[in-house]
């Protein structure tokens, strides 16, 4: 399934002109406040009729201004998690969750009990949305969208109102959704941790325009997209296979660059994972360091150096078959004489690989 | 010195009275303004101290009530006008009906209604009911009576054909082309239809009595008769 989007639209002072393809998996739309993310997602949902453009989901045309096609919202079969919940105030939480099921085909999908348990909203089922806390509301909204068994999930900062632990609980479910079902997801978020973990495709927006779009791994590991992403959110992904579950609570992975120890991941031996390594969590060394608390040292070769305007530099490395990004100071880059072709070691703290940065291979 | 007097008059007098008032105003330089409403409303207003100088009622009983309440100036009450009630039928050329004791009004109506004003409260209805009773046909007709809140509404029911027949004042029937008078009720079949008039007790204006007198004058008589009223002699 593929979503293809091409849109132009004007509001007073703001003009949108965006085009991208969202293949299977999670397509994250990333950009500053006011860059037009919600506008794009609304146009896909059919809540906004754009001035011109074309939107198709898996060949089915949802909107085509040239042929005057505009499929009504309710026929598009989307699950939309809104930035502000939008729960039905007159229905109980249970009835809110059930709402989309009236219209969904009877085919199998996420089960009610399963979704409720995963979102931790079992105790709320008989309450009305009026008295729920901000995070509780958002969890119910997510459940409601999931249970509508949509052909496309639209999520507008669905986790912004949730605490870290709750996020960490829900993210794996979204991953499973991405990996096990054929539902493409259009995901708006300000959190690069979320985006990097979930996204298979990344669309970077700025002032109504798409400045970069492509497979998440490519965009994230490209030093040139660092300015658009923000220096602190850049980072690349390593592909790995689970090699062993060690008894002190670590999981040993095999990557093309060597072994990697991370906090335990509940996965079968042999399972494929993608590990996001934020650029600023990587330390470089010209010679193999000894006696550090950091357990992971990968041999690598510098492939590109991009000096920023500030005191930092982004170093792109090849470690085995994967690309890594490291963010170091310009001073260190000079001191260590880092330049394309130079061999070095990438040091990585085991604990820095957080649960949110481990995803099933997308 | 020009004076303004306020006349409370039954609404059915409007056409005739508007002309007479215009004449009186022109002749005397005074001004008479007329408030037209139902006799009951006007009487109640007079009971509550309305600033009326002259009252012309379509209902004898309301004038009686005011008189008992000493609300009209003694000696000024006159029976000003008379009227008659007639049986009307829908259509410009309906066949005449002979109105006599026991005449088969109910049979003529068939399954339809006889339009009247409210038979227990509005004068035209009260007179009509009395006439039908004295003719001995009320029992049979009563279930077929549709009562309107005034004569004009009853007439409208006949004019539109909603009711084939109705009992209304001769004055109203004459002016409605969509109905024809098919019979007149004998004057002795019901209490005399009288429009009493009087000066209100609280009125301090001599012009009020002069106006009342003028209403019995020749010019006024012509205007009233032109509308089908009979002007009663003092």
């Amino acid at each position: 399934m593929t979503l293809s989007v091409r849109l132009t639209h004007r509001f007073g002072g703001f003009s949108l002109d965006a085009a991208f393809e969202a293949p299977m998996g999670v397509t994250a739309v990333f950009g500053r406040s006011g860059s037009g993310k919600t506008t794009v997602i609304n146009a896909v949902a059919g809540l906004l009729r754009p001035d011109a453009g074309h939107v198709a989901l898996d060949g089915r045309v949802l909107f085509d201004s040239s042929r005057k096609v505009f499929m009504p919202v309710h026929r598009r079969r989307l699950g939309y998690v809104f930035q502000e919940g939008r729960l039905f105030p007159h229905l109980s939480v249970r009835q809110n969750l059930d709402y989309g099921r009236w219209f969904a085909p009877r085919e199998e999908g996420a089960g009610f009990d399963h979704v409720v348990a995963m979102l931790g909203i079992g105790a709320l089922l008989d309450r009305r949305p009026g008295g729920l806390s901000g995070g509780e509301k958002q969890r119910v909204a997510i459940g409601r969208a999931l249970l509508a068994k949509p052909r496309l999930l639209l999520m507008d900062e669905p986790l912004a109102a949730l605490d870290e632990e709750r996020k960490a609980e829900i993210l794996p479910y979204l991953e499973r959704l991405r990996d096990e079902t054929e539902i493409p997801v259009l995901y708006v978020s300000h959190s690069m941790a979320e985006v990097a973990r979930l996204a298979t495709t990344l669309v970077l927006m700025e002032a109504g325009r798409v400045v970069r779009a492509g497979p998440a791994a490519d965009v994230l590991s490209d030093p040139d997209s660092v300015p658009a992403l923000g220096v602190r959110t850049a980072g690349a992904s390593l592909h790995a296979i689970v090699a062993a579950q060690e008894e002190d609570g670590l999981t040993r992975l095999q990557t093309s660059a060597g072994p990697l120890l991370i906090p335990r991941v509940e996965a079968e031996i042999g399972a494929r994972l993608a590990i996001r390594i934020p650029a600023q969590d990587v330390i470089l060394s010209r010679n193999r360091p000894e006696g550090l608390s950091a357990l992971n040292v990968l041999a690598a070769t510098v492939t590109a150096v991009r000096l920023g305007e500030g005191p930092g530099a982004i170093i792109q490395l090849r470690a085995g078959e994967d690309l890594l990004l490291a963010r170091v100071t310009r001073r260190s880059a000079l001191a260590l004489e880092l330049a394309p072709g130079v061999a070095c070691f990438a040091i990585l703290k085991t604990v820095a690989v957080a649960q949110t940065n481990v995803g099933g291979a997308g | 010195r020009a004076e303004t007097i306020t006349v409370f008059a039954a609404a059915s007098l409007k056409t005739a009275l508007d002309g007479i008032v215009a004449d009186w105003n022109a002749e005397t330089g005074n001004t008479a303004v007329v408030s037209y409403a139902g006799s009951s409303a006007l009487a109640k207003q007079i009971q509550e101290g309305a600033p009326a100088d002259v009252f012309i009622s379509a209902a004898v009983n309301w004038m009686d009530t005011l008189e008992e309440g000493k609300l009209i100036r003694p000696g000024t009450r006159v029976d000003l006008l008379g009227n008659s009630i007639v049986l009307v039928a829908h259509g410009a050329e309906a066949a005449p009906v002979e109105i006599a004791p026991g005449f088969d009004l109910a049979g003529m109506l068939g399954g339809n209604k006889l339009a009247m004003a409210l038979v227990d409260s509005v004068p035209a209805g009260v007179y009509g009911k009395a006439a039908l009773m004295s003719l001995g046909v009320w029992e049979a007709v009563a279930p077929k009576v549709a009562q309107a809140d005034n004569v004009r509404a009853a007439l409208a029911l006949v004019a539109t054909g909603e009711a084939p027949m109705g009992i209304v004042y001769a004055t109203d029937a004459a002016a409605e082309p969509a109905v024809s008078v098919v019979g007149a009720f004998p004057a002795d079949s019901h209490p005399a239809i009288v429009y009493p008039a009087a000066v209100i007790a609280e009125s301090a204006k001599p012009e009020a009595e002069a106006f009342l007198t003028y209403l019995s004058g020749a010019k006024a008589r012509a205007a009233f008769e032109g509308q089908g009223f009979t002007v009663l002699e003092k």
Binding site: Y80, L91 | S121, V122
Partner: protein
């Protein structure tokens, strides 16, 4: 049922007056119930749609409020009377007669109360956040479903308010009713007609006031009932 009302008021009423009371209830009830769906539909159209003739419809709905009731009654007579355009058609096609029937009284009451009903419902609809309706449609609900499952429940207090307002208005309607269907005891004599009759004769005030009290009691009961229902609905929505 009503005859069981004990003592005082009830005892002093003549059978005709009792019949006026029950007839008024029947007329008001059906006038309200039957015009409610149309009222909701018209209110929805006025609140949420732009269409050709919208302002004309809006004006038409409000006419009975603006016109003296006698005029409305007369116009009804001309159109819905047996010789009237619509009335004649309905009579011949469906045997549906309004003239001199309680059905006509109900029609009149419905027409007279319609602007109040529509206004109340329309305001309630305008207060519903369209974003909630959008949310429902993204979940697969078509327009009518969205209306039935989201809009309607949310405007329920407004609909109840509108219905009760209409009911109260119908209970008090007199001028148009008597003009259109006249006053036939037991068939079209409603409570206000009976009251009017008593006010027309000297000394009828006491009797009239007795009937007025009955009218007030009925309408206020309906009113308080609606307040209570409206409030409990609102409370349910605010969260248990």
């Amino acid at each position: 049922m009503l005859d069981a009302v004990p003592g005082g008021l009830g005892a002093a009423l003549s059978p005709d007056e009792w019949r006026a009371v029950t007839l008024s209830l029947k007329v008001s009830f059906w006038a309200t119930v039957l015009s409610l769906p149309l009222g909701v539909a018209v209110a929805y159209a006025l609140a949420r749609h732009e269409f050709w003739g919208k302002q004309a419809l809006n004006g038409l709905v409000h006419l009975p409020l603006i016109l003296p009731p006698v005029v409305t009654g007369y116009l009804l007579l001309l159109t819905f009377g047996r010789k009237g355009m619509i009335g004649g058609f309905l009579d011949q096609s469906f045997g549906l007669v309004f003239a001199f029937r309680w059905t006509g009284a109900a029609l009149t009451a419905a027409v007279m109360a319609f602007p109040l009903m529509v206004r109340a419902i329309r305001l309630a609809i305008e207060a519903v956040d369209p974003k909630l309706e959008q949310a429902a449609s993204t979940l697969g609900a078509s327009r009518p479903w969205v209306f039935a499952t989201v809009t309607l429940p949310l405007i329920l207090p407004g609909v109840i308010a509108g219905a009760i307002l209409a009911f109260a208005k119908a209970m008090g309607e007199f001028g148009a009713t008597i003009t259109f269907v006249s006053n036939i005891p037991g068939q079209t004599q409603t409570l206000p007609s009976a009251i009017y009759s008593f006010l027309q004769v000297p000394g009828g005030d006491a009797k009239a006031m007795q009937l007025v009290l009955i009218a007030i009691a009925i309408a206020l009961t309906a009113l308080f009932l609606s307040e209570w229902v409206g409030r409990s609905v609102a409370r349910r929505i605010a969260g248990s």
